[in-house]
Amino acid sequence: MKIITIEHIAKIYQVGTEEVHALADVSLTIGKNEYVAIMGPSGSGKSTLMNILGCLDTPTKGIYDFNGVNVSEMNDNELAAIRNKEIGFVFQTFNLLPRSNALHNVELPLIYSGMPSAERKERAMEALINVGLENRVYHRPNELSGGQRQRVAIARALVTRPSIILADEPTGNLDTKTGEEIMVLFNEIYEAGNTIILVTHEEYIAEHAERIIRLRDGLVEKNEIVENRFIPQKRESH
């Protein structure tokens, strides 16, 4: 079952008098419960593709079909609703609200979807427990380590039970060991039946995925299945 189908998508920016083709012509599909990595050097159009996949931006040309809905021509508010319900974002820099505690950060998407307070708190709590932060619920981001912050961000992405998780360099700001722990978490999420799109420029991170889509100069260079996907193991807890 396909969640995402994009056909001949292009994104053209006007920079001064020059037209920049960030994406020239990209077509791809992503199915349910897939684990896909999008790779490419800087300038390859990777970020632009991610923004379009994440409904933060609309393509200049082409069709983007999300769960059978054409989102390429939606307005701001409709896109906001799709982002809220269908997409969970995980960013390189975590992007938590600095002055709010973990619980409030995780609750936020549910506030925007209009869920009553009690139910919301329960769901957020549950999401925090799932990422192993039951002891850090009332801590603010600056009282948490990088790995813990990213876990809060992942809990926030999962709390709405979205169709896809969109992770942009989720280990980019973490040391190798913490990064590995996060990749373990992603693997668990994937094995629980979620769809993950991972944007990265690091080969060994991309190899956690089932499939790697390589971009270059706004075009899909390769779309390859990973033969021996790297399955990270949970370390001994310490």
Partner: protein, 412 residues
Amino acid sequence: MKNFLYELKESLLISLYAIRANKVRSMLTTLGIIIGVTSVVLMSTAIKGIDNAFQKGVSSLGSDNLYIDKWAWFNNDIPWWEMRNRKNLDMDDFKKYEDLAKLPAAVAPTIWTNKKIKFKERNVEGIMISGTTYNYINTTNLSFESGRFFNDFESRGARNVAVIGFTVAKQLFPLGNGLGQEIKIGDVKFKVVGVLDEQGSWVMGNFNPDNQVFIPIDCVFKYFQGERMRSITINVRAPNSTSVEAVKEEAIGIMRRVRGLSYAEDNDFSINQQEGLLTTINQTIGVIQIAGLFITGLALFVGAIGIMNIMFVSVKERTREIGVRKAIGAKNRTILTQFIMEAAIICLIGGMIGLGIAVTLSMIVNQYLPTAVQADAVILAVVISLLTGILSGFAPAYTASKLDPVEALRYE
């Protein structure tokens, strides 16, 4: 509707959260509004206070009273030289009027002069001496601390008796009651037969009975000035306020006859009323009000600009936060509401503090000048501060709501 309320409630919570998170900045922002609201409330209560004082002062003239005088007190339609050339009103005029007038409840002539008053070694300069008849008391609402007004007998016989106002009594007899004492007005001895209660307000100045001494009118003519030297004023009291107009009409008719005016001639006297004074006062207060509100409005405006400024900075500073909120599903409208709400709450808090300061200050000022804080000041403060918040928060909030999430997330 339910959805809207939910959103309103949630943005209220988010705004409160944001305000608490930025305490110092929020406080500094509030300062402008505190000053603005304080000055608006203070100004409006001061104006109310002055107005009340005037109304009270004016009502001491009595709403049922008419004053027949050579001069029009409040009316500027008649040129002053014309009034100056009018014949003086004298006691003959008064007596004829008193005989002919059927409608008034009481009539009394008055004449004023300025004299030094002495009690033993104590001197009070420049006291307004009112010469009048016993009937004067019936044209006023004066009440007595002790004693009485001089009677018909003393009045007609031009006995040396005096009734002294509250303030005069305090000055002459700081330690005790002056009743029965002998005082000297100019060089003439008078016996104090009555001391008045505190009556009026500072508004009436020397015409406030508190600052006056009353003696029989013939004493004035006998000791202080010739009978025809100055014009007298005739105090007329109507039986009730509905008959004031009739009394006035009658007075005009009688006075024209007394003064021997032909049909072609204009009145050579004026009938003065509290109403005329009220009009003048209301005009003056109106001007003060407009000027005051304009100045304080300016203070508020500066405060509003401050809020707008800070909100713009705040939007800039929180661009990334706005990006995150949008990425996880905040609609444009949600962001707009959040920021407007933030500005409104900051202003409302400022307004409440400002109101508190204004009330405290006006209580202090009240010791020296009359002020009046009323319930409508509270409403005024709330409405003004909320309105300021919403108006000054709108532009920054709109900017925030229109931010492109991609750009905002990338913002450093």
